[in-house]
């Protein structure tokens, strides 16, 4: 039998039901792996006691024949989801002492479906970053390294801890959140699957907000099937979120028919950006051929405004963030730096509570909303956003799904891009457009780069058509047959 931590979510589910092992054993194996993997710095808070209690409850349920959809399956939770009684930090000093008295809707749904919590995983501070280097709790190591090279690679971001935990096999799956690529890009960097559903599918209630009009939760798993299983539990209408969509949640697992015969797959020319590494282009071409071989029809499509998506994003997201993060003022929760008066308290708390990237985005956001600049920046960006969404609408008149690379490179070395914010932002060049339009996107591991690091391909679908996205992803996954695993260097 393969090790319990090597199972997929689906295999573990079926194994538990067949009573091949207990939920307690499964949890134990993952807790042990989690502890062994501490050098990766993936967890901010480990919750082995909770994991044990939840697993014991699952075992009782399974014994009674009363298993729920995710019964006994150990998950890592991005530390952006508020968890009742468990510290929730958003990887920020300002929330370092914060213990919510409430549970996010998405995590509550996972627990209601029987999942087991292993702990809270690391991320870029307030989900702002593409390399997990902005966390107050230190950077996360990508389990993947170049063979024969000890240099630390970034896991991507912001859901870097989630991606590392799933990739290094100490969580069966993890929750992520994606604002401009924060699920898909780390999934690509760590060789796993990550899906950002359509905006409005997953409730945002209880998720620490970064940019409200873009934030979406989604699963990060090792297989497309696992993503389908977990997504079903995470989605659904929530009356507590005014942007939550009241729409039936399909059985996504059933969408994985493997049949894409006649499916029209769009290849957007504008994603062929200047300076794109040859191997990215090569894997993209390969992906297209795989889909074609499975019976899909390839069609070039135009998304003319693609290059403007990032500048648009870097107006809209900081603007929303500057307002969303105003609540961290040291009055009601979190860090307070004493000051001789109120303003000193505010300014001191927020200067020491927020890291450099978060402060930078707050300042940019404040600037683009300020009197005299609102029209030129924010309003302009929202108009361009309308045009970007229109681009996609037009493309989806001709095709059913779009195939693109997930990121313009494989995982880069730690520190490589920290000095240049724009270079860092460019990581999200392929993921941001779908975020701006609210569309579902998935990253599927498609192969390894010449230096042995994972590469991902992205599929973007129509709004609320996660089923086509998942079905196509399943075909891609099968064709790519990505079986490589990171070396467990951290165990030595």
């Amino acid at each position: 039998m393969t090790s319990l931590t090597d199972l997929t979510l689906a295999e573990a589910r079926d194994g538990l039901r067949a009573k091949k092992f207990s939920a307690a054993e499964l949890a134990r194996a993952h807790v042990d792996a989690m502890i062994a993997a501490r050098p990766l710095n993936a967890f901010i808070s480990e919750t082995p006691v909770i994991a044990k209690a939840m697993a014991d409850e699952s075992d009782k349920r399974i014994a009674r024949g009363d298993a729920r959809p995710l019964e006994g399956l150990p998950l890592a939770i991005k530390d952006l989801f508020c968890t009742k009684g468990v510290r929730t930090t958003a990887a920020s000093h300002i929330l370092e002492p914060f213990v919510p008295t409430y549970e996010s809707t998405v995590t509550q749904k996972l627990w209601n479906d029987g999942a087991v919590m292993l702990g809270k995983v690391n991320l870029d501070e307030f989900a702002m970053g593409s390399s997990n280097e902005t966390s107050y709790f230190g950077p996360v190591e990508n389990p993947w390294r170049k063979p024969g090279d000890n240099k630390s690679r970034v896991p991507g971001g912001s859901s870097g801890g989630s991606a590392a935990a799933v990739s290094a096999r100490f969580a069966l799956a993890a929750t992520g959140t994606d604002t401009g690529g924060s699920i898909r890009q780390p999934a690509a960097f760590c060789g796993i699957v990550g899906i950002k559903p359509t905006y409005g599918r997953c409730s945002r209630f209880g998720i620490v907000a970064f940019a409200s009009s873009l934030d979406q939760a989604g699963p990060m798993t090792r297989t497309v099937k696992d993503a389908a299983i977990m997504l079903r539990s995470m989605c659904g209408f929530d009356p507590k979120d005014s942007t939550s969509v009241d729409m039936a949640v399909p059985d996504f697992e059933k969408a994985l028919t493997g049949n894409i015969r006649g499916l029209k797959v769009g290849i957007p020319e504008e994603y062929r950006v200047d300076g794109m590494p040859k191997e990215i282009e090569a894997i993209w071409t390969k992906g297209a051929e795989w889909l074609k071989a499975a019976g899909a029809i390839l069609k070039p499509v135009k998304l003319p405004l693609t290059k403007y998506a990032l500048p648009t994003y870097y107006i809209v997201a900081p603007a929303e963030c500057s307002s969303n993060l105003a609540r961290y003022d040291g009055v009601r929760f979190g860090l307070r730096e004493k000051g001789e008066d109120l303003t000193a308290m505010y300014e001191g708390t927020r200067a020491s509570g927020f890291g450099r990237e978060v402060r930078r985005r707050i300042l940019i956001g404040t600037y683009v909303l300020s009197a005299g600049y609102y029209d030129a920046y924010y309003l302009k960006a929202q108009r361009v956003r309308t045009l970007i969404a229109r681009d996609f609408e037009n493309a989806f008149k001709e095709v059913d799904v779009l195939l693109t690379p997930t990121a313009p490179s494989s995982a880069f070395a730690r520190g490589e891009k920290t000095a240049d914010p724009i270079a860092m932002y460019l990581n999200d060049v392929f993921t941001v457009p779908a975020s701006l339009a609210g569309l579902p996107g998935i990253s599927v591991p498609a192969g390894l780069s010449s230096d042995g690091l994972p590469l991902g391909l992205q599929l973007i679908g129509r709004a609320y058509d996660e089923e086509t996205v998942l079905r196509t992803a399943g075909v891609l996954e099968q064709a790519a047959n990505f079986t490589a695993k990171p070396q467990t260097w951290w165990k030595q």
């Binding site: 945002r204 409200s212 942007t243 609540r327 009601r332 909303l369």
Partner: protein, 498 residues
């Protein structure tokens, strides 16, 4: 629109015209808050009527209260205003300890209600139409208590997130009196609509006043915004003080600085607010946690159909259908409760006497306005705590109308009812106040008084007919007011003529 009569203020350099615009914050009557399910009730223990949403905990999201939306539309319709079928909630960003999110959810560019009109009557009987610029929904802030501790400010978020309607007038007001009457009228309309309880003491209705002065015909001057004005009396004081201050500044050759000033009720003065000195830059933008609020014409029509009769319409009806004098009609409709009382009273009198409302209306109005309001005012009582119910008062009115008691007796009975809460007929029976209309009994009294006062009889017969009042008075006195004065006069005339 009626042209404003410029009520000019005299200054050392000549006349000045006063320009006033008001922003009224009216707390929407609702059970729960604008974006959360916490209670709106006044006076609870600190931070007990607070949801995690109101306190802006991480990940909390707003969901709008359907009833509050209705209330805003109802108010807009009551102000004869344009209802905007699409409105947008914006964030107004600023830091303050009683503003938990660091932004207030408000409506900036696209409010739910557009332009409207309020008709205001002034003391001299003239009528002024005041333009409404807009009405929008927004969240109230919490409360900072600065006087509990020498070094600390205490923060209570019970009010945070309560729904407010900000009703902005056009700069159509020209005196403190006009501003005061406008607020009173607005309050009356809101109370009729049931959209705000209008309680200024509890802060359910608060005013920010924009005041500027100019030479007649000159362009608008720089304005100052006065905050914390929580009664009509203070409003007039604040306007008087501020306009004088501005005139003095200008006449001394100094410019007016656009600023926010605080009204101090203790001194009757306004002063610059230090905490608001910093330049404002609210960085409004549409709240991404909410979608645009869209209303259907049908929804608006349904609310329109359910509007109650408003004070102006009611006063007009009282004048036209009940024949009530205009001044009294206006007094009667000022408070919805008074109008309700009056209408219940008239209906009860009609039921008892079978008479048409238009025949009894004016008399009923006299009783309510003069007797009842007079007594209540003396005791500073509201109509709701009147010791006499409309039905009980109708009992008294019926006794007077059918001649059971005389007018003067009715006054006495009214006082007794007011003091004891007893029924009119019980008081009449108990004290033997029933009017004597029995001809036999009255004749005996008349005969007696004629016999006892031969001198006056002679005077009468000698042509001094006014002396008849002497006889009537004697009889009324002897009968303790119970004799029917009309019949007594009749009998006297007959007997004295012999």
């Amino acid at each position: 629109m009626t042209a404003p009569t410029p009520a000019l203020l005299k200054g050392a350099t000549g006349d000045w015209e006063l320009i006033i615009g008001l922003e009224v914050h009216a707390q929407v009557t609702s059970n729960s808050k604008l974006f959360s399910g916490a209670s709106t009730e006044f006076g609870a223990e600190p931070n007990t009527q607070v949801s995690l949403i109101d306190a802006a905990f991480p990940g909390m999201l707003p969901v709008i209260n359907a009833f509050v939306v209705e209330q805003a539309v109802r108010t807009g319709l009551g102000l004869n205003a344009q209802i905007n079928l699409r409105s947008v909630f914006d964030r107004k960003n600023y830091f303050y300890p009683d503003l938990p999110a660091g932004y207030q959810i408000s409506q900036y560019k696209q409010p739910i209600v557009g332009e409207g009109i309020v008709t205001v009557e002034l003391r001299d009987g003239s009528v002024r139409e005041v333009g409404i610029e807009r009405l929008h929904l927004e969240q109230d802030a919490g409360k900072s208590l600065h006087d509990q501790h020498p070094k600390l400010t205490y923060v209570d978020l019970n009010r945070a997130g309560v729904a407010l309607m900000e009703i902005v007038s056009k700069p159509d007001l020209r005196s403190g009196e006009e501003a005061g009457e406008y607020v009173k009228k607005l309050r009356t309309i809101l109370r009729y609509l049931g959209t705000c309880d209008g309680n200024m003491e509890q802060g359910s209705l608060r005013c920010d006043v924009n005041v500027s002065v100019r030479k007649p015909g000159a362009p608008l001057g720089t304005r100052c915004e006065i905050k914390n004005v929580n009664s009509v009396r203070f409003l007039q004081q604040a306007v008087d003080f501020e306009s004088r201050r501005q005139i003095e500044e200008l006449e001394a050759g100094r410019a007016i600085k656009q600023e926010t000033r605080l009204y101090d009720a203790n001194t009757g003065e306004t002063r610059s607010m230090r905490s608001k000195e910093e330049a404002h830059d609210y960085r409004y933008f549409p709240d991404p946690d909410l979608l645009p609020l869209e209303l259907t014409p049908d929804f608006v029509a349904r609310i329109k159909a359910s509007l109650p009769e408003l004070p102006d319409a009611k006063a007009a009806r009282l004048e036209k259908e009940l024949g009530i004098a205009p001044y009294q009609a206006r007094v009667l409709v000022m408070e919805k409760e008074s109008a309700d009382y009056f209408e219940a009273f008239v209906a009860a009198v009609q039921k008892r006497t079978g008479k048409a409302q238009k025949d009894i209306g004016q008399d009923c109005a006299n009783v309510v306005v003069t007797e009842l309001f007079g007594a209540l005012n003396k005791d500073s009582k509201s109509i709701e705590s009147s010791p006499i119910s409309p039905t009980a008062l109708a009992g008294l009115q019926a006794l007077k109308m059918d001649g059971t008691i005389s007018g003067p007796t009715a006054k006495k009975v009214f006082e007794e009812m007011y003091a004891t809460g007893k029924d009119a007929s019980a008081i009449v029976e108990e004290k033997g106040l029933r009017q004597v209309s029995d001809t036999g009994a009255l004749e005996a009294m008349v005969d007696k008084v004629i016999t006892e006062n031969p001198k006056q009889v002679e005077q009468f017969r000698g042509g001094k007919e006014t002396v008849i009042t002497f006889f009537v008075g004697q009889i009324m006195k002897a009968s303790r007011g119970t004799a029917n004065p009309a019949m007594v006069t009749e009998l006297l005339k007959k007997k004295l003529a012999k």
